[in-house]
Amino acid sequence: MPPGDEVVLRVENLVKHFPVKGRVPFTSGGVVKAVDGVSFDLRRGETLGVVGESGCGKSTLARMLVGLEQPTSGAVRFGTSVVHQARGRELRALRRRIQIVLQDPYTSLNPRRTIREILLQPFEIHPDVLDRRRRIERIKELLDLVGLDPGLHLDRYPHQFSGGQRQRIGIARALALSPDVIVCDEPVSALDVSVQAQVVNLLERLQEELGVAYVFIAHDLSVVRHISDRVAVMYLGKLVETGPEVSLYESPRHPYTRALLSAVPVPDPAGRQGRQRILLAGDPPSPVDPPSGCRFRTRCWQAADTCATTEPPLAAGAHPVACHFPLAA
């Protein structure tokens, strides 16, 4: 199913600041600007990849999208509802539409529950979705859908499964209520490389069959490229570039994107010859006290005076970039 034009999830200027305690009691040590003004639209059946290095706010973004974290400002809109303002029945309805696949398959399933109990849980929380008698049948359907043998597994505990199998169970749980959006928070980074491919392919197949939209968060650029229709690059709590997968990977316009892409290993020695690798100096600046103007300027090789004074906006268009001196396409 190709991505449609209908927007299912609209993120508007989302901000999350975490207050930090100061060294002196009763003083504030400032705030960590984990996510600082992120906006994007997610269309039905589309995959938006979000990449960025550790600590850039990817996971905080994911947690806000599913309502685990309350944003400081901004909104996540699903249809006519605002995720963080919904209460009661509206919130329950939203929960069914937006689900999450967690990062670590070893801790994302309750070790004391059998697979049957874990997969029945969504229906117990939302008893109106499915008649009690049809639930076991539906669980088997779900297991079949995620490539697990539906006959065997129901009364086993999570520790009796491998990492890849557990992640499939986690995906089955997320799919149980037939959501429109699944936020995948680094769903494969805890898995072996060989299993990563299986899980990513599974997610792609499920999208084709069910038309679910993904926000796919990862730090592995090749995995993101494989699954995404559009990619957003995040740096220190802000999106620096978003665009269709092909154009972003083939002709990155933001220096940071270029640097990230140049760090992806190329499995072909011949292909490495003419390649220019960009090594970024130092660590990302502290999100407590980000640089003025463009946040990337402290590590950017083409920073100019403007960059320190004016913050570049994420310009509109098909392939927007937040840079005063975007690279030639």
């Binding site: 947690r63 599913v66 309502g67 685990l68 919130l91 329950r92 929960r95 069914r96 937006i98 689900q99 999450i100 967690l102 990062q103 670590d104 070893y106 801790t107 994302s108 399933l109 309750n110 070790p111 004391r112 849980q121 969504p122 929380i125 939302h126 079949d144 859908l145 995620v146 490539g147 697990l148 043998d149 065997l152 597994h153 086993r156 505990y157 520790h159 009796q160 499964f161 491998s162 890849g164 199998q165 986690g170 749980r173 209520l177 299993v195 299986q198 069959e209």
Partner: protein
């Protein structure tokens, strides 16, 4: 839909149900077996006390007899049989120990779990718990027991009320670990209510800790009860080990009739030791895979 390709094979069938093997592994330790045996014997004595010995009352002819075939544990200055007193005392001690400990467990678990999951409540609960732990418990218990009319019920309430903070702290610390697990986030995203998460996801993870707590708290409650009774604050209508000691001290026979203090003291020692050992060994034997993670 194409048939799914299964490259990861399911593991071979699991060994026997872990629950049963855990219990038998626990009971197979000699120390545990002995402790459980002692606890069982005490429980039988408590339940069937009227069948084993008459309730000691009135004065008898044999005064201050040392242990013999007729009076296994000897007699006191009123001629009452010490064995009968100890057996009937087992009843009071176990009832108060268990009831007070259950009260402490219920209070402590509720407060500990609520503190672990509901963050705003945690600050309040922690302060209250710390204050309770810092209070000098024994003097307060003595004061309270002196104010209210002493009976088995009031003793239970007083001892239980002063025992919950340690349970709450224990349960909270384990609950905090569980609340931070990603599967709790998973349940929240599915729309589970706080009540459901606490009772269905966190509570099962602290049950084994509760078993340990019941045993350890009960043993402390038995000591508290004996102490209060020895101080004359026990239920005057119920025999208890502390009361036997009190009688010995009051009548001045404590210096000459060693049997009057030895046997109730041994009873206290055995019960407390058995409960403590059973509790700590249970804690040590818990399968780490089915616990915490």
């Amino acid at each position: 839909m194409s048939a799914p390709v299964l490259t990861e094979q399911a593991l071979p069938p699991a060994p026997a149900a872990p629950r049963r093997s855990f219990l038998s592994g626990y009971l197979r330790q000699p120390v545990v077996a002995l402790s459980v045996l002692v606890l069982l014997v005490m429980a039988v004595l408590a339940v069937f006390a009227p069948l084993i010995a008459d309730e000691p009352a009135g004065a008898g002819a044999d005064v201050l007899q040392p242990p013999s075939g007729a009076h296994w544990f000897g007699t006191d200055d009123l001629g009452q049989d010490i064995f009968a007193q100890v057996v009937w005392g087992t009843r009071t001690s176990m009832v108060i120990g268990l009831a007070a400990s259950l009260l402490a467990i219920v209070l402590g678990t509720a407060i500990g779990l609520a503190a672990a999951y509901f963050r705003p409540f945690d600050a309040v609960a922690t302060v209250i718990t710390d204050v309770m732990l810092a209070l000098p418990t024994l003097p307060l218990m003595i004061m309270l027991a002196a104010v209210v009319s002493p009976s088995v019920t009031t003793l239970t309430l007083i001892i239980g009320f002063f025992a919950w903070p340690e349970v709450a702290r224990l349960i909270r610390s384990q609950g905090l670990v569980i609340s931070a697990m990603p599967y709790i986030d998973g349940a929240r995203v599915l729309g589970a209510t706080g009540w459901r998460i606490v009772t269905r996801e966190i509570l099962p993870a602290v049950v084994s800790l509760m078993v340990v707590s019941v045993l350890l708290t009960a043993s402390r409650a038995v000591i508290s009860e004996a102490g209060l009774s020895f101080l004359g604050l026990g239920d005057p209508d119920a025999w208890s080990w502390g009361r036997i000691l009190l009688n010995a001290q009051r009548s001045g026979t404590i210096a000459i009739a060693w049997w009057q203090t030895l046997f109730p003291s041994l009873a206290i020692l055995f019960l407390v030791l058995a409960a403590t050992l059973a509790g700590t060994r249970f804690n040590d034997t818990r399968d780490p895979r089915r616990n915490g993670g």
